[in-house]
């Protein structure tokens, strides 16, 4: 694959605005032939926007794009394909009810009818070429996340793209799956493809890329060779100032058992066991990290404990006070408001912030009030206290919002999470359940959230942290519980375990798992 041109893609002076928001301002970017370029930036730095312009989803307001030296105008995804550009989106663009092969052939020209047998054979063959394992006839809704990603990549390759753009491809994968993906990417690079990978994970940038381009707040900061970069340098370029990358882990003495889960079992809506005999305790003054592949039962665990999902067996005990004595109350089977009535203060920050946590179209005051309006008797609600609390939250947590009366939907992801976490913390919980609290948040917001959780831990709250980034879990947790297929495959000490060991536990339950706790 000899090419005269050095650069596969050159983007010059690209600007894109959405209404008053400037998503990209005068961005320059080059991708060389046969290299892997990492595009690094915080959330909202315009990484995805600039790539969407290369793949034809958006059209730039100004600037020029050259592909293999020729100036081109990419007005639609079809134009992008014609220039050999294919993008694998962060949110998979797959049709659920169609099979892998059908998704791959979507929008392709060809005979009037689709010969599914022949198509399946072709897809299988292509997969084998790059080391993918795929069943072309499998329906997308039956697929795991990594299988879906495989389909996405094959879709692009099937179209004969030589310029691939991957938007945060590792966000949903286990460490083992990431290694596999990187191996495939290296195969493709060896095959002469040029690849752009969007990410905000620094160690991945260092592991896979040849060069790194950095964006900040929609502006192009610079490009450096990966060989000359390290985590600290990249972070500084990305954030714009020096940031400490260490997450604190303060030690708290005097740990009281706050939550005890015994043999908890529940079934999912499809009748499959979602949790199987899950047992653990959470202590005040510690952060219990929960690791596992998405869909290993974390969601059900949170919801059963919070009283939102029924269990078929086992029990959940939570510390409370009765007649002045500290007791463990049985809360399994109780609805959230019944749990509150028992005098137990538990806070739950769900993964779906705007679906389950907050009402997107209501403002901050109303959202804060949702947690407390029942405390007051009478026909009318008191809006004064929640308003004061909202204002206090804005100040304490540095929430960026036009005001307390702006619908929370208009806030950025990090600020939404601060509103939610702030509200939950404000009711002084003894147990705090947080599911993926930093998903989609940039570095600054993430560290703010870690600080908040540590603060709660110091206050003696039992924090249960469901996470996906093992590096973070290893740093912040006092203990890590690893889940696999609805079962606890072990509770480990983060000081004494490696990421790979946890990765293995995420995909298989040890034979002697019954007593695998530390």
């Amino acid at each position: 694959m000899e090419r005269k041109e050095k650069n596969a893609v050159e983007m010059q002076g690209i600007t894109k605005t959405f209404g008053k928001v400037i998503a990209n301002k005068d961005v320059n970017l080059e991708l060389r032939n046969g290299e892997i370029l990492a595009l690094l930036g915080e959330n909202g730095s315009g990484k995805t926007t600039i790539m969407n312009m290369l793949s034809g989803i958006y059209y730039p307001d100004s600037g020029s794009i050259r592909v293999q030296g020729k100036e081109v105008s990419i007005r639609s995804p079809k134009d992008a394909f014609d220039h050999g550009i294919g993008m694998i989106h962060q949110h998979f663009k797959l049709v659920d009810v169609l099979s892998a092969a059908e998704n791959i052939v979507l929008g392709r020209k060809g005979a009037v009818t689709v010969d599914r047998k022949e198509l399946n054979r072709q897809v299988k063959e292509l997969g084998e070429k790059y080391g993918f394992d795929i069943d072309p006839a499998k329906k997308v809704y039956n697929m795991s996340v990594s299988e879906k990603q495989t389909v996405e990549i094959l879709k692009v390759l099937f179209r004969g793209a030589d310029i691939l753009i991957l938007d945060e491809p590792t966000a949903v994968l286990t460490p083992q799956e990431v290694d596999k993906l990187f191996a495939v990417l290296r195969n493709m690079k060896a095959d002469g493809k040029s690849i752009i990978i969007i990410t905000h994970k620094l160690h991945e940038v260092l592991a896979i890329s040849d060069r790194v381009s950095i964006l900040r707040k929609g502006e192009y900061i610079g490009t450096i060779n990966t060989k000359e970069a390290d985590q600290q340098k990249l972070t500084e370029m990305m954030v714009g100032h020096v940031v400490s990358l260490k997450i604190d882990r303060p030690m708290v003495e005097d740990k009281k058992e706050r939550l005890k889960v015994i043999d908890l079992t529940c079934v999912s809506e499809d009748g499959v066991k979602a949790l199987e005999r899950v047992s653990f305790s959470a202590y005040g003054g510690e952060i219990l990290g929960v690791a596992g592949i998405a869909g290993s039962g974390q969601k059900e665990l949170c919801e059963v404990i919070a009283g939102l999902y029924p269990a078929i067996g086992g029990s959940v005990l939570c510390s409370g006070t009765k007649e002045g004595h500290e007791v463990m109350e049985r809360i399994i089977g109780l609805k959230p408001d019944e749990i509150v009535k028992k005098g137990i203060s538990m806070a739950f920050v769900p993964e779906d912030r705007l679906g389950m946590g907050l009402v997107a179209s209501m403002d901050m005051v109303d959202n804060v009030m949702l947690r407390s309006y029942k405390n007051k008797k009478g026909l009318f609600v008191d809006r004064k206290a929640p308003q004061e609390l909202s204002e206090k939250l804005i100040e304490d947590l540095e929430i960026v919002t036009p005001g307390v009366n702006t619908p929370v939907r208009r806030l950025s992801g990090g600020n939404v999470q601060k509103v939610l976490l702030g509200r939950e913390i404000a009711c002084n919980p003894s147990v705090l359940l947080v599911a993926y609290p930093v998903r989609g948040l940039d570095i600054n917001s993430s560290y703010k959230i870690y600080d908040l959780l540590n603060e709660q831990k110091k206050k003696g709250v039992a924090v249960i942290f469901i996470g996906e980034d093992l590096d973070v879990l290893l740093e912040i947790s006092d203990r890590i519980m690893v889940m696999c297929g609805g079962r606890v495959s072990g509770i480990v000490d983060p000081e004494k375990v490696t990421k790979e060991e946890i990765g293995l536990m995420m995909i298989q339950v040890k034979k002697d798992d019954e007593e695998a706790s530390v």
């Binding site: 995804p77 929008g107 689709v114």
Partner: protein
């Protein structure tokens, strides 16, 4: 007994055909992600324009009108006017991104008024009522297919209908092939399920939506023409569509968006519509009139309980697609 059942089935087919056409039009529309609740309206538009088209053709050629030509004109005009109704809907929802439900309901109101107004207006001008002549009337009557219709039982059951019945079944089968086998059909399904994905795959979402919606409306229009030309026998009757369009929408759900299944379901609904003439029960006739609607409600309850990914409404139905939305 057998004779009664035979007659009931034959009558059910005849009564079910406009429902089938309406449902097919709506299935095609919904496969593109548009829920067009204006089926009733488009059927009215097709009903009045079909009969008016045939009537004016008759007037233009004087006494020697050809039945086949008249029928084809009715077919063409009703398709075009139904498609025109759908085009209004398509422009409002696809281009201007208006709310689909509101637009659809409005189209129903508009179409009902359109039908009744022009039906009465042309009727008054014709000196009483809008009626087509015998030549065209007979073109819409049952045809006994030579040889085949002579087969005992089966001949009566299958080979004695008016041509639109066969036309409707052909459309249903063609649509099933289109969705399941053809490339364009696969693309259309993708548009209805997930327009963002289809767009990213290089499919022209707007074009697909427009064509499916407009052709779907045209098929609904033909269903309306059936009512004025066959059910009413070539005479314009005020309010003649009266709820058929709504039943067709319910039928789409009952048929689980599967056009070949719609044939059977239309037969069942057709039977419910005419049951009172064949099955005599000691109940007031109003109960017979209610039957299709009660079954519709039951079906809606049943289908909402059953969960299936493939036999469900295309996922993007009800929401309009805008590529640069964020």
């Amino acid at each position: 007994m057998l004779n009664i059942i035979l007659k009931l089935i034959v009558a059910a087919v005849i009564a079910g055909t406009p429902l089938l056409l309406g449902a097919l039009g709506e299935i095609l529309t919904e496969k593109s992600g548009n829920t067009n609740l204006g089926v009733e309206g488009m059927m009215y538009m097709g009903a009045v324009s079909g009969i008016a088209g045939a009537y004016f053709y008759e007037k233009a050629v004087g006494g020697n009108a050809n039945g086949v030509v008249g029928a084809l004109i009715a077919l063409l005009i009703s398709f075009l006017i139904g498609a025109f109704g759908a085009l209004i809907y398509a422009f409002l929802t696809i281009t201007l991104r208006a709310n689909q439900n509101v637009t659809g309901l409005t189209l129903t109101i508009f179409g009902t008024g359109f039908g009744n107004f022009f039906g009465d207006y042309f009727g008054k001008k014709a000196g009483g009522s809008l009626v087509v002549g015998d030549a065209i009337k007979s073109a819409f009557q049952g045809v006994s297919i030579p040889v085949l219709s002579k087969i005992p039982v089966i001949g009566k059951l299958l080979f004695n209908y008016n041509w639109i019945v066969y036309f409707a079944i052909l459309v249903a089968i063609a649509m099933a092939w289109f969705f399941n086998k053809s490339r364009v059909g696969l693309n259309l399904r993708a548009v209805g399920e997930d327009p963002g994905t289809a767009d990213a795959a290089g499919i022209n979402v707007t074009k697909y939506k427009y064509i499916a919606t407009v052709v779907g409306g045209g098929i609904c229009g033909i269903g309306g023409m059936y009512i004025s030309m066959v059910s009413q026998g070539g005479v314009w009757v005020y309010d003649c569509v009266s709820g058929y369009g709504w039943l067709a929408v319910a039928l789409v759900i009952f048929a689980t968006w599967d056009s070949s299944r719609a044939i059977l379901v239309a037969l069942v609904f057709g039977a419910l519509k005419i049951m009172r003439f064949y099955v005599e029960l000691p109940i007031p006739s109003q109960f017979y009139d209610m039957a299709p609607y009660i079954v519709t409600i039951l079906v809606l309850i049943l289908t909402s309980m059953r969960e299936s990914r493939e036999h469900a409404q295309p996922k993007s139905c009800g929401t309009n697609y805008f590529r640069e939305e964020r």
